[in-house]
């Protein structure tokens, strides 16, 4: 696959932003049928599940995270599926896409993943609420990059969206992009805290204009996280941006994706709305922690026909 050049962004175009309109009911209707029109079974399902794993950002964002907890997660990122199963599947090089941690844990993750090529993603900018000063947010990004993070997951200021301060939002995100320098910028919409899907669509477009490499649904800590209407809204904006500029921006769904069946519907959404070119870890991510175990159990069912015991799959 030809590696596209990184999204350089573009100047803020309020004409485009003002023209964005999302009909919630119609969006929900389309989303309601998503899981029903494209059935993936048999060997194809095994392949799709492995693709989902390769797109996973294995995540731990807890107050009581310690170096050892991060180490354990990194081990799972290196070996996401149990050895005997991966042998049967014939995909020995399968790994997760990244490991996502708080800034204080970046060095631990970098050390644990040394030599594996798996990048460390750090949340930053006052994650999850973003209620801190711009100065502090930028310092946080820079420190994470210095510590070795190759990806930065930032949060937008939801207050700016609520108050329709679009230009301010654009400027802030542009500053984040600059602070990231070479690191991949993922912009978290915290969609569950935005007033409407139309607001979400506008904020998504602004993030891409400001130079986001990925736009991400949520922190995982809102009351409502990655639902299909939220995802559909964002993905449609990604398509708009691509048609406008020729640049591909990635999509990350985070929070509330707990089982393999849901993960498969997400892959199908991406495939249908954006295309197969987006269906890889360069342009699609799922942020999750316990999902990996459900996918592992589904792989087991696919391989053996047996429903696996929960405690048999190694903990993430």
């Amino acid at each position: 696959m030809v590696q596209q050049e990184r999204n350089p962004g573009m100047p803020l175009d309020m004409g485009i932003i003002n023209a964005i309109r999302v009909n919630k009911a119609a969006t929900e209707r389309r989303c309601g049928e998503l899981g029903t029109r494209r059935m993936v079974t048999g060997d194809y399902q095994l392949a799709w599940l492995m693709r989902a794993i390769s797109c996973m950002d294995l995540t731990t964002l807890k107050g009581n995270d310690t170096p050892m907890r991060v180490f354990r997660l990194c081990e799972k990122a290196k070996m996401p599926v149990r050895q005997d199963m991966i042998k049967k599947l014939g995909k020995a090089d399968l790994t997760a896409a990244a490991v996502c941690v708080y800034p204080a844990r970046v060095k631990d993750a970098v050390r644990a993943l040394k030599g594996t090529g798996i990048p460390v993603a750090s949340v930053a900018t006052g994650f999850p609420s973003g209620q801190t000063s711009l100065k502090v947010k930028l310092a946080e990004i820079r420190q994470a990059v210095v510590d070795g993070a190759e990806e930065i997951d930032v949060v937008i200021s939801r207050d700016k969206v609520a108050l329709a301060q679009w230009a301010e939002l654009y400027d802030e995100l542009r500053a984040f992009r600059e602070a990231c320098s070479g690191a991949t910028l993922k912009v978290i919409m915290a969609a569950g805290e935005l007033p409407t899907l139309t607001h979400l669509a506008k904020a998504s477009m602004i993030a891409m204009m400001a130079g986001a490499d990925f736009i991400k649904t949520s922190t995982g800590m809102e009351e409502v996280n990655a639902t299909f209407p939220i995802g559909m809204t964002m993905v449609r904006q990604i398509r708009e941006y691509y048609e406008l500029t020729g640049h591909m921006v990635g999509f990350k769904a985070a929070g509330g994706i707990n089982d393999a069946a849901t993960a498969l519907v997400w892959l199908s959404l991406i495939r249908e709305e954006l295309g197969v070119e987006w269906l890889n870890s360069n342009y699609f991510r799922i942020g999750a922690s316990s999902l990996i175990n459900d996918i592992e159990r589904s792989l087991w069912v696919g391989l053996t026909g047996m429903c696996a015991a929960r405690t048999y799959m190694p903990l993430a």
Partner: protein
Amino acid sequence: MVCGGRAMAERLTSHPDVAKVDFCGSTLVGQSIRKATAGTGKGITLQMSGKSPNIIFEDADLDGAIEGIMDAIFRNQGQICSAGSRLLVQESIAEKFFAKIRRRMSTIRISTSLDKSIDMSAVLAGTARIQRLVDTARAEGADVWQPDIEIPETGDFWVPTLITNVGPTSTVVQNEIFGPVVAAMTFRDAKDAVELANNQRYGLGSGVWSENISLALDVAHQIRAGMVWVNCYNMFDATGPFGGRKETGYGRQGGQEGLMNYVKPKWMPFDKHDWTERLSDFAAALEKWSTRQFGIIDENDVPFGNPALVVDKSPKLYISGKQVAASSNYVYQCRTPTGEVIGQIAESTSGDVAKAIDAAHKAAPGWAKTAPHMRGQLLFDMAENLSYRVEEFAKRIHIMTGRTMESCTAEVEKAIERLFTYASWADKWGGRVQEVPVYGLTVTVNDPIGVIGIVCPEEYPLLGFVSSFAPAVARGNAVVVVPSEAHPLSATDMFQIFDTTSVPAGVINVVTGGQAQASRVIAAHEDLTMIWHFGDAESAFFVEYLAHDNCKRTWCAHGVQRDWMDNEQGEGLEFLHESVEYKTIWMPAGI
């Protein structure tokens, strides 16, 4: 006493005059014994592999714990099924503790067993397998450390080995090595420790090191293993039962609990069965047994009752406290003895059964933690709610079976009495203090199993159903119940009783339909560790055979019908015994 290898084992265990097999060894051989004895009616106890956690908390006597590690994994060369081969150390003391372990390992003396000054001797069956696993650990990036000590130049000796920098995904953490090799991980707190401890296929031993009694007991309760050694390891005595759960196997050796595996009720005949011809093409036989002809609804079918008033009786399934439609649209007819149709019974699919098992899993932890008294109260409540509807339930049985109203009323009243009986047992069968030679307290706790799959008898449509779920539920289990195939309406009538009694969602789940089909799904499901099967002998064969895959525990009737009205046959110690996993907790004490 005879000697021999695998071939001898197979001959002995499958001999028709052998009534009971007690096996201790590898999981692979244990599984083949299960297959060879499936459906024969032989009693079987399996004690197989383990990967037992030895958990060291920061408030332990650390030097005491070091010696515990010696007992757990180095003495006896770690070649014991209950070896504490996964060391879990609290993060806060990890560095200090590993330094202590290394110091201690450097003082180990290894020589031949005739040397009188040794800690360790030769390993059984060679060192090749150990070597392979240790090499794999290195290849996966682990740190492998061995003390610089002498071992004899010839013979199968292995230097005690400590492996760190591993996680649950590592090969040496998941697999039994059966040698003096310990894989060590750290944990933050008790919750972490328990999660790591239980993240394994096996469930044999465990060690808990802490001077805090509240912590030690809480952790002991949550570990899913047959043995918990608190501030000690690998203590054994004939008075105390020994054994494991999950893929370690089932049954206990020692104690009164172990004796239960060697006895059967006096009234029960011991029928022998031979299924060798099924074994020759198992897959085909399995298909034949579990293939179901879906009945055609014949327009000439005569519905029971007044045609002008007939409303189709089409009970649903009962999953997670709700009545849900089966996912297939197939039904079969429930008929009176004279052929009139009294109901359309849903054919559960394998998906429905799996959903029910999932629902039971969700409910099981909460139900197990519910105060035993409250479990009893629920069953008393259920009995009371049933008592308001005796006539209706009796009439239903009468129409289904043609038995006299007197007999049917007696059945309903017996069901109420049985609910009373098990309500009373809910908080009066907690376990036993074992009088072992070690000073302190050694108790066997009668833990719930978790989720039990139950296939009901055909006889006594209500009483058989109640007698099946009540003991399991009283003892803290969640159940997935397959009612009588021919007469399921008494069971489906109970849905309303469950609702009125506010049975917590998922504690009781009922899936109607073909018993063979449902049995197959339950017996093969890897996240289920116990199945009760009150059906015929051939089905018992398939159930026990399929159970070999995850070493599922089974309790099969092998076609023996019970007189459920007779308390000697219909209730009691047998049922309680099959509702629990015995966990023996050793707590040496002293000031």
